[in-house]
Symmetry: C2
Subunit: 273 residues, 2 copies
């Protein structure tokens, strides 16, 4: 297996460069990559140190490192280009066609999305996180009028992480409520949820996956048994079917995918970008 050093170089957190880097590198299963992050590159001096680290890796490996860069500053980009590495300039490559298309020059400053820099977006986000925490797991139900969405599901179907992701990433007020055995007797939605039926969204999970997750937490318990998981998921399906609650099957999906699909399905507008 061949080996390559990979550097993510950014004037900020490096999260964007890393995401696109990971996605591209996953295309090359036969190469072993060693990944390094060089973030908050703000000065020419930072830049020269980054280049020195890249060149040291090149010397040690005997091969050219691969660099994913989101540097914005033209001088910094130029310095990086002289490193001798394969520099994939995510920002610079598209800036010129974009300027040409829009007919205006760019500000060439480090750019952030609103979610990251706008103080009012910051507040929305923090408030949303606290809302998710306060309204987690059915603990409180008297603030549901403020909720953008109320996730329902059986225990360990991923309600809490999804609520938190919706809050952190999109600034949405997401409550969640577990449906438990007591709710299953009469196939009715719990009283607390009845007035908010139009805010409900169901997380559905396959019993085979649910039992694995529950076993990790309470091995050998009735709660974790396949039989119990089958019964709960079957009854849950009947309830959401009866009330026409929109749903997503979370079994094979990441939190990102669940959350973005919920947005797409519900048409909910994110509060931050």
């Amino acid at each position: 297996m061949t080996h390559r050093s990979v550097f993510v170089v950014s004037g900020g957190t490096g999260i964007t460069a890393e995401a696109i880097g990971n996605s591209m590198l996953s295309q090359f299963g036969d190469v072993a990559f060693t990944q390094h992050s060089l973030t908050y590159i703000r000065t020419e001096d930072d830049c020269r140190q980054a280049v020195a680290r890249i060149q040291a890796a090149a010397e040690q490996d005997g091969t050219r490192p691969v660099v994913f860069s989101t540097l914005v500053n033209p001088t910094h980009r130029e310095l990086l280009n002289q490193s001798g590495a394969l520099v994939l300039d995510l920002f610079g490559t598209f800036l010129q066609p974009l300027e040409a298309e829009l007919g205006v020059r760019s500000s060439q400053k480090v750019g952030y999305s609103h979610a990251v820099r706008d103080p009012s977006a910051y507040r929305v986000r923090i408030d949303a996180v606290h809302f998710a925490l306060d309204n987690d797991d059915g603990g409180r139900t008297h603030h549901y009028d403020k909720a953008d969405i109320i996730l329902i599901g059986v225990s360990r179907s991923g309600k809490t992480p999804t609520s938190l992701y919706l809050a952190l990433q999109f600034g949405l007020y997401a409550a969640n409520y577990p449906l438990t055995e007591e709710d299953f007797d009469d196939l009715r939605l719990p009283e607390a949820l009845q007035p908010y039926r139009d805010k409900l969204f169901a997380l559905v999970i396959d019993p085979e996956r649910l039992t694995v997750i529950r076993q990790e937490r309470m091995a050998g318990s009735r709660y974790a048994s396949l039989q119990q998981c089958e019964q709960e998921t079957r009854t849950f399906a009947a309830i959401i079917g009866r009330y026409n609650v929109p749903s997503i099957n979370v079994t094979e999906r990441s939190i990102e995918e669940i959350s973005t699909r919920i947005l797409a399905q519900t048409g909910l507008q994110r509060r931050i970008r």
Copy 2:
């Protein structure tokens, strides 16, 4: 102000394409962008529908839309390129130079980072979120031996959202503990924290910002007064100085920036990528 329609087109969540799109568009302050997400484009049919939506916007606007695409499938990319929009092909543009450099062909499948698809990474992440919740706000302290990091700070300095972000994004076990007036009398760290001094990390906030945040929550209270905020932040600074606790000033920083800087400063290794 000129106006442009912008489309984020992705075979997955669109999060990466959106991040780079937001960052590039923020360079053009004089253009009003209307943003659309076309995500989970998985089939040629999905692709044709996306192209139709882009072309409809072009017709309505009378200008070419801008498209940020992370489509991987070559046929889909080709279809998108024929839309007539300015297509910034984030994936395709760098694939060829990368293949040439590595001397291997890519698999051309939709790529995901480990964090997103690997089931064991999924579990780490969920466990980390539950750890952050269980160990939030000093509520429990007897699991600190399992913590990767324990964030300390005055009330409303951003400990909870930062802990959750560290959990969701990096799979880290992050506890947090508020330092309150009772802890300030003798300038000592609370007993519960003493055995874990090497795991502590302090979130420092300017009193002027803190009072604004607290006013939003409890307007007119002593808790929110500038005087109180000044006293708490001053005493907090004295305590972390005395115990040499590493720190970051969070005042002007996003949660992403705080979290990634904590990683860089502590050298903590993320559990998921």
